[in-house]
């Protein structure tokens, strides 16, 4: 799934991604990088609203799992179960959210569990940066459920 395909998917199926002004900068099984501009996400302090930053981080995490599971041919429904976001600095410009699966063995276990139990959970870490400086981090727990429809 290339950047343009992912962007189109998000715009079509998750309309808030369009209101946020998300652009897909990188989209592969190693990482997904999304960016968003300040203006549609601004708050009354002229910095990025925490809810916008969270939403972009959640999408970056979800998209990475979606792309990985799709590549493995695992048909599923991906559901967010929990996320924790730490806001380290105010974000005063366009920002970037990069998701990774930190631990390769976690991915291996997740896949095995999904194939065996048709249900598995994994954590994804997303780092947010603005002008090259780290500004926030999110950890999200997602559950993949076997879904014959999708």
């Amino acid at each position: 799934m290339d950047c343009r395909e992912l962007e189109q998917f998000l715009y079509e199926h998750i309309p808030l991604s369009k209101a946020i002004g998300i652009q897909v900068q990188e989209s592969n099984t190693e990482r997904v990088v999304l960016s968003a501009p300040l203006n549609p996400n601004i708050n009354h302090h002229s910095t990025v609203f925490g809810g916008s930053a969270s939403a972009v981080a959640i999408l970056a995490a979800w998209a990475l799992l979606y792309i990985r599971l799709r590549q493995e041919g695992l048909h599923n429904r991906l559901v967010i179960q929990k996320n924790t976001m730490v806001y380290e600095r105010p974000i005063a410009d366009r920002f970037v959210a990069s998701s990774t699966v930190g631990d390769p063995s976690a991915w291996q276990k997740f896949q095995e569990m999904f194939r065996r139990k048709h249900r598995a959970r994994i954590s994804i870490t997303v780092t947010l940066q603005c002008n090259g400086e780290r500004v926030a981090e999110m950890n999200g727990d997602f559950v993949a459920l076997a879904d014959p429809v999708s």
Copy 2:
């Protein structure tokens, strides 16, 4: 700050709140209740996108603190430091986020600390419901910093 005033403030200063379709249902020092419709917040499973639910919860928490601090005449800059959201059930319709300061002694300590140190932290809990059923919970840590400008 009544419901209409808060709604206007959000629409004007945090434009994403308008894209989300937030409506203020209750706005006082005891609690803030915000609601949002499914459509602008929908995802590819026809349920509410987790990032939208998080954003509404963050706004409900922030607004309660804003209203309380304003009533106390404490001029400040309110910053979100951390939030944890647990998604308990899919949200398939209009949803409601209600924020409360659970512990009155925590509010007392927060105020005293703010007056003494010009900086204080407090946690706010937000419960999300859809059609009368609880669907998610958020805990958010906010820091108030003395700000002579605001």
